[in-house]
Amino acid sequence: MSASDVNLQYVPTWCPGCGNFGIFNSLKKAFATLQLDLEQTVLVNGIGCSSKIGQYVNCYRIETLHGRSLPVATGVKLANHSLTVIAEGGDGDGMGLGMGHFVHTARRNLDISYFIHNNQVYGLTKGQTSPTSEPGMLTKFTPPPLGNVERPVNIVDMAISLGASFVARSYTGDMNHLADMMAQAISHRGFAVLDILQPCVSFNAINTYAWYQQRVRRIAETHDPENRDQARALAGLWGDEIPVGVFLREERPTFADSLAQLKDGPLASRPLEGADISGLMEELA
């Protein structure tokens, strides 16, 4: 399988120069690198510019509601834990409406990868603040003179503290690095969070390609991703220097491992017939 096998015939409707093109290309590259079986792969999207990616990728996809990719992905994974399940969505989608799900999915450590297209603005609704917007950012909903007065969510720091077992960040301007991070996240057994920094060329005048080029730094090889404290210290960096790479990698049992019902294979492949409920009735006799 090559990256082009992942393409569908439809032409993406992202704005020219949109960071989503880089994410799309990296995703295809990661799929090809891993030689993923596309019949066994499910991409679960939220809603927004980010989530249009599902319309162009030739695996099984379910395009859900705004903010709801993670609970749907949870249902898919529990129904058939042999599938490769990737959830994705934007910063507005996942850190706004979907924040509650993010918190609890991380706690559960299901074997799902979660790719967050983080452009620090709401794009498809044409330019409002997102939970990751910079303080002072001027948007339609946060006009001058104050602009945005809220502190941004630090996705990486939060994912680490919530219990995600793989946490990484990458940048859409470095497609090879991004493809590598995606491949590592998909290969990781457990909940893998990938924060993808992505310029929005239409509505975010602050976090531009040039802005990121000046700041993005690959995490040094001396960093030990199994060291939680180190990972958190690194996650706290944001500003003149923005680390990208793998912050945390932890091998531990997944939620599905704890379920005896899944030991005999996926729920989806069990026969429906043959439940003998006579014991249940006798219990009430």
Binding site: Q9, Y10, V11, T13, L38, E39, Q40, T41, V42, V44, I47, G54, Q55, N58, C59, Y60, R61, I62, E63, T64, L65, R68, L70, P71, V72, A73, T74, G75, V76, K77, L78, A79, N80, S82, L83, G100, H101, V103, H104, L259, A260, Q261, L262, D264, L267, A268, R270, P271, L272, E273, A275, I277, S278, L280, M281, E282, L284, A285
Partner: protein, 581 residues
């Protein structure tokens, strides 16, 4: 008519009055009698007034009655609230600490003041008080003590049972000293036919298990959560996974994920929780993902009355979520329907690739009834147009949402070779692709929009043709036709029998499936009815409005009960007499 006997056990939460009631009901049910058990409790954990009403008869019961042959109470509040329910000649058993006002008693009530509340502290003493109450009850009513002992022996560990039996017998002896021992008015004897003491939510859960349901998700909300509790407890032995979600929104979306991935899935909640799920309900509708939801109605709006009953979510549930899309809504009326129709709900969900909502209520969900074992013969699992890889290999390219005459397309699930597709919450064409903005679709968007909606609604006539949408109980024609739905069925059926015994001609139209609305079937019955009386547990006659909307038929009289308690046969009989007078 069935001679019956009704006893009310009352006490603060924590004293086990509900287990006293179910013990008596089980003992009776195992020995030839039939029981109907209604629990009433406020929304708190300890204190407050809990009551457990047990109605017993020699033939099957489908409702409770308010008037009491026996009151057994451990709290003053319990007595205060129930003076007026005592029948003349009833027996009143209360703890010696309780003050009885003789002037408030009907004629010939026999009063027994006995030391029931056990000394000592903690929950053990409370539960033991419950045994004392049961022992004294047996002495006074003449209900065989050994039958109660047999039930308790099966439910306690031997040492706990021994202590309780001691107390049970001591209280029995003490009461017997005072009592002119009455003989229990119903024929208690062994009966080989096995019966269960089962409530509606247990029956729904069993129906789901029988239907091969393998996934459940939810967030606790009374009175819907007991389905989830049951499945969490009993599901694993049938390979079912239950996931407690962070909220109802997550729960519904998890169910959709599981349904999309090919697993039969169920959720259960009450109106407020359902309200949170409705955006995702529309998603299931548009993406054509099969999913089964239970909405156990309680009093509303808002937090309303968590532990009380109502039938007021009908209009909401059939219209819930934005836009237009078909869904199946069925209003179960008794435990048999809870079991059988839940089984059918899973078949319907997959055959029509549609969300199915089972509408029940606190009264049905939580009241227990003795019922024969369910007959599982003839319950066949039907998965509808579910693809397999051979079919997918022969039918390329695969179109998930192919336009068909019956509106149903072949469904592939992840993992199947050749079935890759997008399932989406966007309005879409045959391949699932979003129809707006993309140059491939832009020109045809209006056409695709129409076709996509027509596809969804093409299912409705086929669903209607398959559904056992209405049931006509009683004679084909009658002077008065009752119209009811959901748990009101039981009281209405008994009222119909009472009316017959009183020489009145009454039948009952039960609307079982509410959406798609069975207009033709309802019209066929009501078009011939001489006079009609609507019975509903809500303020605004919601079914009446639906009937009017779909058939143009106005129901002649309404009896709407929205006082947070269920209908009883005698109340309905009174209204029948009034209407026919």
């Amino acid at each position: 008519m069935n001679k019956d006997f009704t006893c009310l056990f009352a006490g603060e939460a924590g004293y086990g009055v509900m287990s006293a009631g179910s013990t008596l009901a089980k003992a009776a049910g195992r020995n030839g009698l039939w029981a109907f058990v209604v629990n009433e409790y406020p929304s708190l954990i300890k204190g407050g007034l809990n009551t457990c009403l047990v109605r017993l008869a020699a033939s099957p019961l489908q409702a409770h009655e308010e008037s009491l042959d026996f009151f057994a109470g451990l709290s003053q509040e319990g007595l205060e609230q129930n003076y007026s329910r005592l029948k003349p000649g009833a027996a009143l058993l209360v703890d010696t600490a309780i003050k009885v006002e003789s002037s408030r008693l009907p004629s010939d009530v026999r009063v027994y003041l006995l030391p029931l509340i056990q000394k000592g502290s903690g929950d053990v003493a409370k539960i033991m008080s419950n045994s004392a109450m049961l022992g004294a009850f047996c002495a006074i009513s003449g209900f065989p003590l050994e039958l109660v002992e047999t039930v308790l022996a099966g439910e306690f560990k031997p040492e706990v049972f021994a202590k309780n039996r001691e107390l049970l017998r001591a209280a029995f002896e003490l009461a017997a000293e005072q009592a002119v021992v009455a003989s229990f008015p119903l024929p208690v004897g062994a009966n080989p036919a096995q019966k269960m003491l089962i409530n509606g939510n247990d029956a729904i859960s069993m129906g789901a298990i029988q239907a091969g349901c393998k996934f459940a998700a939810g967030y606790p909300m009374t009175p819907g959560s007991s389905v989830l509790t049951y499945l969490a407890d009993h599901g694993p032995q049938f390979g079912l996974v239950f996931k407690q979600a962070e909220d109802e929104i997550a729960a519904m979306n998890m169910l959709i994920g599981a349904g999309y991935a090919g697993v039969r899935a169920i959720g259960s909640t009450s109106g407020g929780g359902f309200a949170l799920m409705v955006e995702a309900l529309g998603f299931a509708g548009l993406a054509e993902v099969p999913v089964v939801m239970v909405n156990a109605q309680r009093g509303g709006p808002s937090t309303g009355q968590p532990t009380r009953t109502a039938q007021a979510d009908l209009a909401f549930v059939i219209n819930s979520s934005q836009g237009e899309f078909p869904r199946i809504v069925l209003a179960v009326g008794d435990v048999e329907e809870c079991f059988v129709e839940t089984f059918r709900a899973f078949n319907l969900a997959e055959k029509y690739q549609i969300p199915v909502i089972i509408l029940t209520d606190k009264y049905l969900a939580d009241s227990s009834v003795t019922h024969p074992f369910f007959n599982t013969n003839g319950l066949t699992i039907e998965r509808g147009k579910l693809a397999d890889e051979t079919w997918l290999a022969a039918n390329r390219p695969y179109k998930r949402y192919e336009f068909t005459d019956d509106g149903v397309s072949v469904r592939a699930v992840p993992g199947m070779a050749g079935g890759r597709h997008i399932a989406t919450s966007y309005t879409h064409g045959e391949d699932g692709f979003y129809s707006s903005g993309n140059r491939e679709y832009a020109a045809t968007e209006p056409e695709i929009t129409v076709k996509a909606l027509d596809k969804l609604f093409a299912k409705e006539p086929h669903i209607l043709a398959e559904l056992p949408a209405v049931k006509l109980h009683g004679p084909e024609t009658a002077d008065l036709t009752l119209v009811a739905w959901g748990s009101t069925k039981g009281a209405a059926l008994e009222a119909m029998e009472l009316a017959k015994a009183a020489g009145l001609s009454v039948n009952l139209l039960q609307v079982l499936y509410m959406s798609p609305f069975p207009a033709a079937a309802v019209e066929a019955v009501l078009g011939k009815a001489k006079h009609t009386l609507l019975l509903e547990g809500n303020k605004t006659a919601q079914l009446g409005a639906l009937i009017r909307m779909h058939t143009g038929i106005y129901i002649d009289d309404n009896y709407l009960k929205y006082d947070s308690r269920a209908f009883t046969p005698s109340l309905i009989l009174e209204k029948i007499k009034e209407v026919l007078a």
